[in-house]
Symmetry: D2
Subunit: 273 residues, 4 copies
Amino acid sequence: MAYSGEPILAADLLFRPEHSLIDQSLHSRLGEETTNGDGFGVGWYGEGTEPAVYKSIEPAWNDENLREIARQVRTPMLLAHVRTSTGTPVQRSNCHPFRHGRWLWMHNGVLHGFHEMRRELLLAVDPALFLDMEGSTDSEMLFYLALTFGLVDDPFAAVARAVGLVEEVGRTHGVENPVQMTVATTDGESLWVFRYSSERHSRSLFFSTEIATLRALHPEVEALQELGGDTRFVVSEPLRDLEGAWNEVPESSAGRVGPGGDEIRPFAPITPT
Amino acid sequence: MAYSGEPILAADLLFRPEHSLIDQSLHSRLGEETTNGDGFGVGWYGEGTEPAVYKSIEPAWNDENLREIARQVRTPMLLAHVRTSTGTPVQRSNCHPFRHGRWLWMHNGVLHGFHEMRRELLLAVDPALFLDMEGSTDSEMLFYLALTFGLVDDPFAAVARAVGLVEEVGRTHGVENPVQMTVATTDGESLWVFRYSSERHSRSLFFSTEIATLRALHPEVEALQELGGDTRFVVSEPLRDLEGAWNEVPESSAGRVGPGGDEIRPFAPITPT
Amino acid sequence: MAYSGEPILAADLLFRPEHSLIDQSLHSRLGEETTNGDGFGVGWYGEGTEPAVYKSIEPAWNDENLREIARQVRTPMLLAHVRTSTGTPVQRSNCHPFRHGRWLWMHNGVLHGFHEMRRELLLAVDPALFLDMEGSTDSEMLFYLALTFGLVDDPFAAVARAVGLVEEVGRTHGVENPVQMTVATTDGESLWVFRYSSERHSRSLFFSTEIATLRALHPEVEALQELGGDTRFVVSEPLRDLEGAWNEVPESSAGRVGPGGDEIRPFAPITPT
Amino acid sequence: MAYSGEPILAADLLFRPEHSLIDQSLHSRLGEETTNGDGFGVGWYGEGTEPAVYKSIEPAWNDENLREIARQVRTPMLLAHVRTSTGTPVQRSNCHPFRHGRWLWMHNGVLHGFHEMRRELLLAVDPALFLDMEGSTDSEMLFYLALTFGLVDDPFAAVARAVGLVEEVGRTHGVENPVQMTVATTDGESLWVFRYSSERHSRSLFFSTEIATLRALHPEVEALQELGGDTRFVVSEPLRDLEGAWNEVPESSAGRVGPGGDEIRPFAPITPT
């Protein structure tokens, strides 16, 4: 889940769903989603120029420190992630969101054949960036490939090139459809999202409708009065059944939310030449 | 889950269900049962006269140390428990099974109104035993009340008196049906089980049929050849659909499994006089 | 360690000692102090009326979440504590500071004979407060006894009565010198400190000199320019060798720091009548 | 610490030093040694062909599960290690001993310049072995380089070639003395130890004298009667002041302990050609 908008108390996003567009608390959502809960993480922008991250391999719903922190932190941009391990160890350094400089990155999905491709992909990471990698997941690898290919300057192109490389390496290892991903990444100002899979059958991704529009549609919903006008949520599944609230990101698409307007555009991998 | 029988590798009980009567691994069972997994524990008899316990508040399915240990330990009596907190903190000292001397105790269920009754129940615990209590759960309280009332000498009577006391205290606090329990407890030789609730609508409890009988019924099931002749399982739900394998403990009953024969008998609380 | 003063970044207090009166980082201090480090905790006032607490049983110096949080939190009142267990389990609910409503409490020391006195002391806690106790330490017990005796209304008298009770109970159990304590407690406005032991040989306790005075004494020390004028530190040992910076709280004394002026006064237990 | 000899209860090695040659319990030793305790691990041979490992990033002296396990496990070969991180994350996958197949490996020391050399060393690891690496430490890297160079067949030569490679790579990065190591590694039968550093100023390493000799020297020491005749300890420092008990492994040496006799020989890196 990603939030972008007016500064808001993290606890309102994570634990008081009645104050948001999400009608289940983290507690119950985690309960439902994480029969295989293999760690979680929250990243946000607050004091200082770099985002903060809070990650743990204990179940989020039992993490009393998380509840304490969430009641103390206000932020205009928050990413929250629950991990389902696809084979790599359950340890803090493998929890999302990943951070590099001002950037946060989180990923739902999997690189099929990652175990076999890992060495080759690692060699493709900029040696200067390589030193900052701490974990062993496919998701962090994709992040560092995107950073290698210019994420900071042109997120759309950088992710397209990273995905193109993974598909190329996958081909040489006989992996049919190596990439299955939905990604959210941010520099604290804008939020970029990606929905793509090699077999063109990607996991779902939704973004929320402008608050002004929703208020007009649902004048009786109190939460909408409390949320700021710039509020944007991005989620894997529309968690509240509110007519007109959720818009699906189409298959093979990418988008940007933030100052200067939102946009959605087609996404296609760029194969290395 | 409780196992009593010939010494067996703990890993075969916990992680290799194809070798047992239970047709799902701990991994998948935990996945199913523990959307609210609030800690787990394993207790067993091995070296020395006192049982060993391994408990943790991290999810069992991610606990690599548990897998390592389970492959090193052989035991004729093992109890395994996954906790769902009913309000008390998630910490090691609140995980089952609880141990006192040679005894292990685990409990599925809840003492309704425990928060209100707790002080009064605590006062009923033998002051000499009181000092050994480490946690804050209703389950440990029930164990110490049973110990206070003579668990070591007569488990049936001791649990009946403990339950009778809780119901009495509940009445004075206006709690209608204070007790909902299935309990398994052992001294390493015999295994006692209890199924009871104040409203006479208790959680289910099953024990397994004698292995010789099962082998005759299902000569084609390999696992039955590998299991020892004294094998007994006690579980909350019959996890494998094998005809004739599982027998339900009736409502308001208690039983004993072990050397000298098995028995099941009616269970009724003994009200303090 | 306790800080009271202008709002300050927690990280500056905990991890950037060059910006404070304390000349060692938490990292190195913990390294020195905690060869027996049995958990730590930080409590502070920020958003909302109740203080927040962050506690853990993992070593503070390896706690990456703590570092993240400390860089995001500004507070005018912070308590930090490293625990050395005197026998009770190492678990989050036994870590200081303890919280009740708007109050925080932390304690260095020990109630000798606590194991034997525990049941009797527990009975002396207001039954309505009893329900909020979560841990099993002597320190939390002392806090709840003080709350029982009116901490919220008159901290000096309440602690005196709590200590008096413990000494009385100790006498009946043949414990010669039951109390050894330094305590810091706060409602977010004022900070109260206590130094007392039954044998009149208490652990040391120091508070810092007014910043204006220190600036005049040490115009060359930069940290003094950055600290606010209301800054007050309370520590067990003067961690920086800066002439005139630290003042010892005398044996058998109590004090208050906060708006309306500071005061130190003799402390004597009030024996129950 | 490494133990080789007659099967012994792990608890006697780790927690009952009066029964061994080591005169401090793990508890107190850890207290002394681990002001920077960044995780610990124990590896041993028991059931099955592969060794078991128990590792944790919580302090060993608070790990109640470790105490439980140690009282249940008998083993003829045990390695125990307390980690001091030299920069890589504190997580289970970075704790010693490392395991591959039947082999265990632990390392005290550091590869200077590891951050800069890491990518190049990683490329030197056999791609088939690379997939099994889970952590990010210099110690695991050295293990996998040794495996790459034939540890299973000729431990002396394999470690010499691994060290030679690291020194070569170090030279190209301008690292003056890249290697500082004492290593213990075993296949469950024999135990190999190495003491070496590029600057020929290595950390100390000691092995214990034959028990028969020690019994003759110290007929009054009871522990010597209880220990088996094949007992061998390897430690960083002679932890008990018993005359004649400890022998230093000389600078730039390697040794083997096990069936067929012990040997110590000079150690010199083999530079890649």
